[in-house]
């Protein structure tokens, strides 16, 4: 588990790298003010869907967040709006209706609302509300899947004109368990957006997923070639082996993914990324229609594994490599660390060890006395 204190000196290369990555993830995740705004938006839409006049009112609607907000893996987009994902689940005899009836009803109902009329659009599976303050809210209408049971649902797909199996709640539970972390209390009806964890409260798996998503956002210039978040999240969860360190977690995850790809390559197949909580759902199915994207993913993840190994080794230029992979938050984290170093120096709290390592007071061979760097102009 990451610590709340931001260290200046470190016992090992792994500890130093983990501290840097933690600070990068702090920059990546949704700001508390944005999170609060998301909660407010969720609450408002929830009220509209449950009030008189809503076609869903008597269908025992359950509204819950899915995706990065539910998983604790939010990652600021490089550009463009941040997306909030919700499921509107209803108990209804879907077999009596057209597969896209629920999606159409949701779209038409929200379009009739004065507030949402101008911000609404229809996507393949969701109704999207685009907020001027740079949010997308994607609402996925879904039916309880009685034949599969549990938390399985059926979701509409316009391209296929059919309902497809899914299980976002089950996925969230699976991921949280893979993190070996505490679960959150679940409300009976509408589920609130989970309180945002501070980055030092996050598990290594969550941090690793944030970093993988950030890598994806920077490495794939064409969005159509980029692996989708649920693929990265599922693969990370599958191959995470319980490491306490985010850097070690990434090493293990990348090895798992690259090995899995290699095994399937031998048979001329792509990796299958099944929803662990609903094996009928294959998150990688988009690759079948877009083999170029799968090839780009393979090349990208293999390259990332090699570059990551160099970074883990430490030394010259690795901070530049880190910045290339994860962006400007690396630079910000390095500056913040140097600023803390300077503050500790001014407080007379620094010593050096016998190898020249800068440490705290108790363990060094010499205290760093006050000085002023000088030199020729």
């Amino acid at each position: 588990m990451a610590t709340a204190e931001k260290a200046i000196w470190f016992q090992s290369s792994r500890e130093q790298l983990d501290a840097l990555l933690l600070e990068v993830c702090d920059g990546l995740q949704l700001r508390p003010s944005r999170h609060e705004l998301a909660v407010e938006r969720y609450g408002t839409v929830n009220e509209v869907l449950e009030k008189a006049g809503s076609p869903f009112r008597f269908l025992r609607p359950r509204i819950f967040p899915q995706g990065s907000m539910a998983l604790g893996t939010t990652c600021k987009p490089v550009e463009g709006p941040h997306d909030l994902d919700f499921v509107l689940q209803i108990d209804a005899p879907h077999w009596r209706w057209h597969p896209l009836a629920g999606l159409s009803a949701l779209y038409e109902f929200l379009s009739s609302n004065v507030t949402y009329r101008k911000m609404i659009s229809l996507k393949n599976r969701v109704v999207r509300l685009t907020y001027a303050d740079e949010f997308y809210m994607d609402i996925l209408p879904a039916y309880t899947d009685l034949s599969s049971g549990g938390t399985c649902i059926l979701v509409p797909d316009r391209a296929r004109v059919s309902l497809c199996p899914s299980n976002p709640e089950g996925f969230i539970l699976w991921f949280r368990n893979r993190c070996l972390t505490r679960t959150r209390r679940v409300m009976e009806k509408a589920k609130p957006v989970p309180a945002q964890e501070a980055v030092h409260e996050k598990e290594p798996l969550q941090l690793a997923v944030q970093l993988l998503k950030r890598w994806r956002d920077l490495a794939f210039a064409e969005e159509c070639l980029a692996p989708i978040s649920v693929v990265l999240t599922t693969l990370a969860g599958m191959y995470y082996a319980g490491e306490d360190s985010v850097s070690e977690a990434l090493t293990t995850i990348l090895a798992g993914i690259v090995n899995a790809i290699a095994l399937e390559d031998l048979q001329g197949k792509r990796i299958v990324v099944r929803n662990p909580s609903n094996l009928l759902e294959d998150f990688g199915e988009r690759w079948d229609a877009n083999p170029q994207a799968y090839n780009a993913f393979k090349a990208g993840i293999r390259r990332l594994q090699k570059e990551w190994a160099v970074i883990v080794a430490g030394g010259r230029e690795t901070d530049k490599e880190l910045e290339r992979l994860f962006g400007e938050y690396v630079r910000t984290a390095l500056v913040k660390r140097a600023q803390r170093l300077q503050e500790a120096r001014k407080a007379g709290a620094l010593t050096v060890g016998s190898t020249g390592a800068i440490t705290g007071l108790a363990s060094g061979v010499a205290r760093i006395r006050p000085n002023v760097f000088h030199g020729d102009e």
Binding site: Q16, G314, A338, Q342, G356, R367, I368, V372, F373, G375
Partner: protein, 139 residues
């Protein structure tokens, strides 16, 4: 010589390479953090001059278009103190070497960001500007 005794006892990776009366030279490695490079440093001390500090390897590089690192002399050696902050009665092991480690730590951040965060003289030089002014703070 007392200076030699303290340098080699406090920093075992340093060895004496020259000892001629009032001139002594050491060579050793310093690594300010676990992920830092291992810097091979030579310190030459000739009474009554200030110690001369040179990073032998890796070759120090510069940021952007700058031709030199901050707080160095024209010959590329490091300047880790003002003249009045050191004299021959002060132990090199308790001053020069720790200050060199600190210089290296700030050098590494400067190399990545262009900003020298260890302060120093000549505050009007651009590398002393706040981070946000140089590279644009991240949101």
């Amino acid at each position: 010589m007392q200076q030699d005794q303290f340098v080699r006892s406090r920093f075992p990776h340093f060895r004496r390479t020259t000892n001629r009366g009032d001139r002594i030279k050491w060579r050793g490695t310093l690594q300010p953090s676990p992920r830092s490079d291992l810097y091979d440093v030579e310190i030459a001390y000739e009474i009554p001059c200030r110690p001369h500090i040179q990073v032998v390897t890796p070759r120090l590089t510069t940021w952007g278009d700058l031709k030199r690192q901050p707080h160095t002399f024209r010959d590329g050696s490091l300047c880790v103190h003002q003249a009045h902050e050191w004299h021959g009665n002060k132990l090199i092991a308790e001053t020069i070497i720790p200050w060199t480690c600190l210089w290296l730590a700030f050098y590494e951040t400067w190399l990545e960001t262009g900003c020298w965060l260890g302060e120093g003289t000549h505050p009007d030089l651009p590398e002393h500007s706040p981070f946000g002014e140089i590279v644009g703070a991240a949101a």
